[in-house]
């Protein structure tokens, strides 16, 4: 008998209610302790589920309503290693965030702790659920908690505007998901993913299925911040409190991708098999996201904003792996997503350290002021290498798998995009590190306020970053992981096996694990590409810091000519205006929809 899958949701929710209800009796230290204990418990429960599900999904029917004659009467959590893994990642990040906020966070009684626990419970529920409407409920729950957390710093108007745009755009995304659910329900009379998949399978997609797919896809892509649904993200993520940013950048965007993958494979893979045209449509969105995010990342001087756009860009990379619509691509994406989330979490904490010590997060104003922070410098540089996908970070193995899948699927050029994007995002961080910690390049080097003492480095502040980076390394070094991921995605992508497990209670077909992963194809090429990304990133960073040393050749000139107008246009488009975000959402919906409609006809 394994863990009851309801517990990692129920425990934090109950704890959150207790924290608020008994707030007059709970001091700051107790609140910190209770919330941290809750997050650790959730992490442990999710990790136990991860172990439990290695042999096949665990189906848990709330209220004991097991299906009758293939009809689901209740709501099920269908836990598989992918969902449980993502939930564990959320638990780890939440634990890190709560450790970080232990000493320094303005928590407003117990409200911060309660909101973080609700947020975590919602993420876990979203990852474990096997019911489309139940996913929507957890989507909204995590969103409501996220809106409040994003606007936490009410003294900062930028943060409030960011939260408003976040809430408005994501609410519209949520309604799109709900409309998609209504369409599917009108056709099938079902809400359980397995049952939905079963009743749609066997017939080619018609207009209702295509539009329902479009609505769900756009809704989840809004959460994931796929271009052009990403305009809300930067202000919301960058101006949120640091511990909240750890969760936002580490796992929340990825949840949109997860949901897309889950719903595609359980519900739509029958009527919409992964043919070339669907792949092309998705890859278009993926590549656009990766590149727009990468370029915007380089253009930032606000350190947290830089990370926010790195998130957008890496969502694009991950989506590229998923968009191949093959198990191997998905496997790479899953590995990449987890490792990348850990690295970004560590980087967010590092920026928190900079802010904590120097009271500033503007790259130019910080020039040379971080010279006395060698640990923070090391963390940022290591994080930048993690973003670049340098071995032995887990991002390397994820990307290697995605590159291999792309080549096998006939898209070898995706490797070029991967290299370019990794180079761009790591360049931005290396440039910032060079300027802040080594005093390189130009900058206005705003003098630090005199009366602010330099606080001591405290283990609760540095610890989370170190641990998260170590975890990202562990994902890259753990030898059996690739093999387990391959088994998990094999099951994840098997629509009929999933349906049989959920509705008939049979264990799916046995997927044999190749020990240690599939025959280790040569890692020489991926390693060379990773080295190339890192070197390119370093070169770009140095070029930006030392513009005078650039060779004055035609290439430099040509690059400038291409770069400057692109940058100007992109900057102008990212206005942070709510109306603009919503307009782009509709434009994206019309664009993707037209492509999908043409595809089916």
């Amino acid at each position: 008998m394994g863990v009851v899958p309801a517990l990692p949701v129920a425990v934090p929710l109950l704890l959150a209610a207790a924290l608020v209800g008994l707030s007059p009796l709970i001091g700051r230290r107790q609140a910190d302790t209770l919330a941290l204990a809750g997050a650790v418990a959730v992490t442990a429960l999710c990790a136990a589920l991860l172990v439990d599900t290695a042999g096949g999904p665990v189906v848990y029917w709330f209220g004991g309503w097991t299906p009758r004659d293939g009809i689901a009467l209740g709501v099920a959590f269908t836990v598989d290693p992918v969902g449980a893994g993502l939930a564990t990642l959320a638990g780890v990040l939440a634990t890190a965030a709560l450790v970080y906020s232990w000493r320094i966070f303005e928590a407003v009684g117990t409200l911060y702790h309660a909101l973080m626990l609700v947020f975590l419970a919602a993420i876990v529920g979203f990852c474990l659920s096997g019911d489309l409407f139940n996913m929507f409920v957890f989507y909204e729950l995590l969103s409501v908690a996220a809106y409040a957390l994003a606007g936490w710093r009410t003294e900062d108007p930028g943060s409030l505007r960011g939260a408003l745009n976040f809430a408005m755009t994501n609410s519209v995304g949520g309604f799109l998901v709900l409309a998609g659910i209504a369409l599917l329900y009108g056709r099938t009379g079902a809400l359980n993913l397995a049952q939905l998949g079963q009743s749609l399978a066997g017939r080619p997609a018609d207009r209702l299925v295509v539009v329902a797919f479009l609505l769900l896809m756009v809704g989840f892509f809004v959460k994931a911040a796929v271009v052009p649904f990403h305009f809300w993200l930067a202000d919301a993520y960058a101006l949120a409190p640091i511990p909240v940013g750890v969760l936002f950048a580490g796992v929340v965007s990825e949840l949109g991708l997860y949901a897309f993958a889950r719903v595609y494979w359980t519900v739509f893979s029958g009527p919409l098999p992964g043919g070339g045209s669907l792949r092309a449509v998705l890859l278009l969105g993926a590549v656009a996201t990766a590149l727009v995010g990468g370029v915007m990342c380089v253009l930032q001087r606000h350190l947290a904003r830089m990370l926010a756009y790195a998130t957008v860009s890496h969502v694009g990379l991950t989506l590229a792996g998923i968009a191949l619509l093959r198990p191997d691509g998905l496997g790479g994406a899953v590995l990449y997503l987890v490792a990348d989330g850990l690295v970004k979490g560590a980087l967010f904490v590092s920026i928190g350290l900079v802010q904590h010590h120097l009271h500033e997060v503007d790259e130019l104003a910080l020039r040379g002021r971080g010279r006395h922070l060698p640990w923070t410098a090391a963390l940022v540089v290591a994080g930048a290498l993690g973003l670049a996908g340098v071995p032995p970070f887990g991002t390397f193995r994820g990307k290697a798998l995605m590159e291999e899948a792309a080549t096998a699927a006939g898209y070898p050029w995706l490797a070029v995009v991967f290299v370019a994007v990794a180079a761009l995002t790591s360049a931005a961080l290396l440039r910032a590190a060079g300027r802040v910690f080594f005093g390189a390049g130009g900058g206005t080097a705003r003098p630090p306020p005199d009366d602010v003492p330099h606080p001591r480095v405290h283990p609760t502040l540095v610890g989370p970053a170190v641990v998260l980076l170590a975890a990202a390394l562990a994902v890259g070094l753990e030898p059996g992981l690739v093999g387990r991921v391959e088994v998990a995605v094999e099951r994840f992508t098997d629509q009929s096996g999933y349906a049989a497990t959920v509705l008939q209670g049979t264990t799916g077909p046995d997927v044999a694990a190749t020990p240690g992963g599939h025959p280790p194809s040569s890692l020489v090429l991926p390693a060379a590409l990773a080295a190339l990304s890192a070197l390119l990133g370093l070169a770009l960073a140095l070029g930006a810091l030392l513009p005078g040393r650039l060779p004055a050749g035609g290439l430099t000139w040509a690059l400038r000519r291409a770069w400057d107008p692109t940058a100007a246009v992109l900057r102008a488009l990212h206005s942070g205006n709510i109306g603009d975000s919503v307009t782009w959402l509709v434009v994206g919906m019309a664009g993707f929809g037209t492509l999908l409609a043409l595809m089916v006809r």
Binding site: L164, S171, F175
Partner: protein, 114 residues
């Protein structure tokens, strides 16, 4: 008639978005968002409606009487709570934004990006 509620839902969805996009006042935009949301209520209830069915409450009518789908009712109830709570959060954000900027017009926040 067999399409009318669906048409109404699609219309409300788009007209609400139009309101948000063209809004010059955040509170106005927030109310428009609730119009967008109302389209999902209509869509849900319309797909679960059965002509000639009673409400799925078997207090005065026996079980077995033709009734409309109870599930969409439950879903819409949740949806209504979601709508009201998101609106409350948005209104709170709008009030705070006003304290900083002295305006609710999103166009006038322009150039204030930091």
């Amino acid at each position: 008639m067999s399409l009318l509620p669906y048409l109404v839902a699609a219309w409300l969805f788009l007209v609400g978005l139009y309101g948000i996009v063209t809004s010059r006042n955040l509170v106005h935009a927030i109310t428009c968002l609730s119009v967008v949301q109302s389209s999902t209520y209509i869509l849900l209830l319309a797909v679960g409606f059965e002509r000639g069915g009673t409400a799925p409450i078997f207090l005065d009518v026996p079980v077995g009487t033709k009734a409309v789908d109870p599930v969409v009712g439950a879903l819409t109830l949740t949806d209504i709570v979601v709508g009201a709570t998101v609106s409350a959060l948005l209104l709170a954000l709008a009030v705070q934004v006003y304290k900083h900027h002295g305006t609710l017009d999103p166009e006038r926040f322009r150039g204030e990006q930091d």
